[in-house]
Structures are given as C-alpha cells and as structure tokens.
C-alpha cells in the first residue's frame, strides 16, 4: 500500500484522482454506486453568477471514442448553490471544488467572492475554456491577454486555492499557462473540451442545437497528454491533467507526463465507479513498481 497523498499547492488530496466538472454532478448522483469520499476531490458543475437555462436540446452527440456536448453551463446560479446545494454536500469527506464560469470579468470576480465565504470549499477552478457559451467562456482562454486579465482580477478577489482550467483550442497552450501563472494562479488544470461538430448526413442537419460542441473522451487523450506534458515543462505551479482518462493506466500516463493529479470526466458516464477503480489501480501500479509514494511518478517519464 503506497502513499497516495499529494498536494496541489495548499490543497491536500488523499489521492490524485478527482472527477471533472460537468461530468459528476454534485457528487451525490454517484453515491448509490460508490463511496464518493474515497476519491481525492470532486469538481462540481460549472457555476455562474446567475441562473442559466443552458442550450436547447439536443446537447449531445456520440462520436468515435468520444462525445460532443453543448450543455452550455445550465445551473441555478451561485446564490442557489450556496444556499441549497452547498449545505447538502459540504460534509462529504473530500475536496469539493467549484468550477466557476462567466461571461464577463465582473461575473467571474463576483462569483469567486461569494464562494470565499464557504468554509468547506478549499478551491475554485476558473473555467476560461467553455466552448459552449456565446460570450465569454472559451474566448477568455484563447488569448494570453484576456486569460491574464481575468485571472488577475479573480486572484485579487479570491483567497483560497485558485485553479485555472485551460482551453486546448489554442496554438500554444504553454504560453497561456505561463500567462495565468504570472497572474497568480496556484495551479492549472487541462484540458477542457476541444471544439467539434457532428452532422446527421441523412437529415443534412447538425446534430447539436448549437451546431458545434465540446469533444471529450478517449478520442482526445493523445492531445490532452501532449498538452499536459508541454505545460508541465513550462510552468512551476502544479498541473492537473485530464482528457479521456478511462482507467488507471491512462491516469498514470498523465502523471508521468507531469500532472500532480488527474480528473476523470466522460468515463464516469460509462462506469460510475471508475474513479475508485483508478485509485485502486494507481495503488497497484505503485506497489508493483516499488514506489513508496505517488509523488514519485509525477513527471517521471524517461526521455
């Protein structure tokens, strides 16, 4: 039994396996299937300042080894989260991290400020990479300037751990990572979804109501792994890796490439207990290879 503890800045994880925003609800949806307190953390649904209805149906298309989604940040707003959801999840014995989304810098800042006061929320993940909303969202994450601006303002307003979630829809993701690191991000998580599209040839129509949507699942794993590797080499802050992780081997690949922790997204839909299996699988791997602590494999890729 190796030591699975790992820290992401001041955030202490019992193990490096967390679940990705928008794919694990508020955690409670999975409690019939597993003990959610056994994983290192839960990134809850994208939360915006005000209530959002999200995009019209259809919001999903299956693609080869992946899926497109166009949920568009449907959520009941920060107030509702604080007053009605937080009380029901705050006693889950793991890190509950809120994924904060917005259309303007002011939105991000105000939401972050509201979350400051919640004792059991040790961190927020700033989503500057959502491809499914018209304004803001991904636009912030695709230029160094705007990414830096939003991080700077949120950093001022938010006192706990600030994780910034990067968009893969860019020419040079390390550049963006460096820009947000410079403005005080405590860590970065990547990747969010890749912008994609699906068409029904027989009907001659796009499948998604929004025409384009975000691609996730194992199809994107090679791209995510490359980006994690590039960013881990560029920045000094910890990197959280995600994108297509389906099992422990995938998770270990991300850690070898430089991720201190990982998130599991789409895989939760195929196996709601996958995150626990990944925890156990990492432990087996460490034992089998004679590692005492999971921290030993972070960035341990031999070139």
């Amino acid at each position: 039994m190796a030591n699975l503890n790992i820290n992401i800045g001041k955030l202490q994880l019992k193990n490096p396996v967390m679940t990705a925003s928008g794919t694990f609800g508020y955690g409670t949806e999975f409690s019939d299937f597993m003990d959610v307190s056994r994983i290192g953390g839960i990134f809850v649904k994208g939360t915006t300042l005000r209530d959002r209805q999200g995009n019209p149906y259809p919001r999903m298309a299956e693609t080869p080894s992946g899926m497109l989604n166009a949920v568009g940040l449907q959520n009941k707003g920060a107030d509702y989260f604080i007053n009605h959801i937080y009380p029901t999840i705050k006693d889950i014995d793991t890190n509950i991290i809120v994924n904060v989304s917005g259309s303007t810098i002011e939105d991000y800042v105000e939401t972050a400020e509201m979350l400051n006061s919640l004792e059991k929320i040790p961190a927020i993940e700033l989503n500057i990479s959502c491809p499914n909303v018209k304004e803001g969202g991904m636009a912030f994450g695709t230029s160094c300037l705007s990414a830096a601006q939003v991080v700077k303002e949120v950093r001022r307003a938010y006192k706990n751990e600030l994780i910034v979630k990067l968009s893969p829809n860019v020419t040079d993701i390390s550049e963006i990572a460096l820009a947000v690191e410079a403005e005080g991000a405590d860590s970065v998580s990547l990747i969010n979804t890749l912008l994609g599209m699906a068409i029904n040839a027989e009907k001659r129509k796009p499948i998604l109501s929004t025409i384009t949507g975000g691609l996730s699942g194992p199809a994107v794993k090679p791209i995510a792994l490359r980006m994690v590797w590039q960013v881990a080499q560029a920045v000094k802050i910890p990197v959280i890796g995600l994108g297509g992780i389906m099992n422990a081997a995938d998770a270990i690949e991300f850690m070898l490439a430089g991720a201190s922790a990982i998130q599991i997204g789409t895989a939760n839909f195929i196996d709601p207990t996958v995150s626990i299996k990944v925890v156990d699988g990492i432990n087996d791997y460490l034992d089998r290879h004679g590692y005492k602590s999971v921290s030993e494999i972070v960035g341990a890729l031999e070139i």
Binding site: G22, T23, F24, G25, E29, F30, D32, F33, K45, Q53, G54, P56, Y57, P58, R59, M60, E62, T63, P64, S65, G66, M67, N69, V71, Q74, G217, T266, N268, F269, I270, D271, P272, T273
Partner: protein, 258 residues
C-alpha cells in the same frame, strides 16, 4: 430508490423478428425493486462504434422467476449487438433509473395504454402493475405491419388489447389515434410511449377528451443519472433531465406544441 450497477445474465434471447429481440435476463441475486416506466443504462461490449451506454426500458419484471425482460429494436450497432447476445453472456446495466408512471387516484378510472413501435416496451410492465392494483387495463398497440406487433399474448394477460397496423394486416388499418376504440370511450387516464408524432397525437386526443395523460420520452442520454445534463426537455419548470425527472412526464408539464 437505490440504483445499482449489475451484471445480469442472458437466460433467453427470443428473436421476435429481424428487427426485434426479447432478452430475458436473470441474476444470482434477487433483482432490486423496479417500477413501471423506469429504464436501465446498458453497457454494450464488443461494438467499436458504441461508446456510451444505451437507455433501454424495463419491459417486464417477474420477481417469482427473478427475470427482467427487455425488448430491443435494432436501429444501430449498439442495439444490434444487444439483440444478438447469446444465452449465458452478461449485460452490465445501471438500474433502476428515472421516475415511473403514476396511477389514477380513483380505482374505477378507465385507463388506456397506447404504444407504437418499440414504445410498447414499458407498457407491458405498467399494465401488469395497473391490473394488480385493480384497474381495468386497455392496451392500444400500433405498428407498421403484423410482424411488428410483438407477443400480444403477453399484453392479453393484463387487459384488453386493441391493435392497428398501417398496412391493415392486423387489427384496424391506420394509426393508433384512428382506432375506433377511441371514438366514444371516455378514458380518464392515458399512458403513451412511442414515436414523438404518435405521442403528440395521443396527447392531443387526451386534451380533447379531458383525460390525464403521461408520456414517456426517449431523449438521447450520456449518463442516465442526472450528472451530464444532456438529456433535457423543455418544461414549464425550465430544462429538466429526462433521465431523472422523466422519462415519464405529464403532458401538462411539457412545452409541446400540440
């Protein structure tokens, strides 16, 4: 209701036609409590083009024999792979998911269950429950042709069965909503599942005669458990997940143009 991830075993695979298979599943353990209208999210193995689970209605549960029935209509590779499974193979499912049909308050209410295509699946189990609760059950089942009307004898165990076929090879010719049984009957409660145009026509009929009406929707799903928000339908309460707030909705709640 507590949800489970179970590996059920194929006990029997009745290929009812080249489009439909009835899978009878069982388990070494006692099957969990399942209500009519609920569904399962089924993992399809061995199909390279099937990445996500597939939502499939509970067709029938026989607790005495510890059997769970599902009815599969082949439309793509996922359903094809399921329909061709062999006895002894196992099928991984999340179950039971979603809400269920509601029963009329008054025991003398006249109930009608209208199904088309594969939408007949959840109605069998619903009929069994209704009959068991003392209601007189009427099934109105529609299909393109006689060969698509599956296992009528099963429905007959629980109520009267009226049928329509588009080609007139069984029952009355035409669509379900044209069946003469609808003419001067005053149903109090109508349940329907099938192609959307059919359900809308049934809903319009229910509105006209002032009957309560519940429909079971088939939106595409990723998770089936309320986590992804992909399966929403527009309701008077905004976007609601079909997998958790449905699949059964009272038509008064839906923003359907009827």
């Amino acid at each position: 209701m507590k949800k489970y991830m179970l590996d059920l075993i194929i006990k029997e695979n009745k290929q009812l036609s080249n489009q439909y298979s009835l899978l009878i599943l069982t388990s070494p353990d006692k099957l969990p409590e399942i209500l009519p209208g609920q569904f399962a999210e089924v993992r399809v193995d061995g199909s390279p083009t099937t990445f996500l689970r597939r939502p499939i209605s509970i067709h029938y549960v026989d607790y005495k024999l510890n059997e769970l029935w599902i009815l599969i209509q082949i439309v793509g590779d996922g359903t094809k792979r399921m329909a061709e499974m062999n006895v002894g193979e196992s099928l991984n499912m999340l179950i039971p998911l979603g809400n269920s049909f509601n029963f009329p308050e008054r025991k003398d209410a006249k109930v009608l269950l209208v199904g088309g295509g594969c939408g007949v699946a959840p109605l069998l189990y619903l009929g069994a429950h209704l009959k068991n609760a003392g209601f007189e059950v009427n099934f109105l089942l529609g299909a393109r042709s006689k060969t698509d009307l599956l296992q009528l004898c099963e429905y007959e165990r629980f109520g009267n069965v009226y049928t329509t076929t588009e080609d007139g090879t069984h029952g009355e010719r035409g669509f379900v909503t044209q069946h003469s049984a609808l003419n001067n009957s005053n149903f109090d409660y109508i349940y329907t599942c099938g192609p959307t145009p059919m359900m809308k026509a049934v809903a319009a009929y229910a509105l006209k005669i002032g009957a309560n009406c519940e429909v079971s929707l088939e939106n595409t799903m990723a998770c089936g458990i309320g986590a992804c928000l992909c399966c929403v339908t527009d309701t008077t309460d905004g976007h609601l997940c079909v997998c958790t707030e449905g699949p059964v909705f009272n038509i008064t709640k839906l923003k359907w143009q009827i």
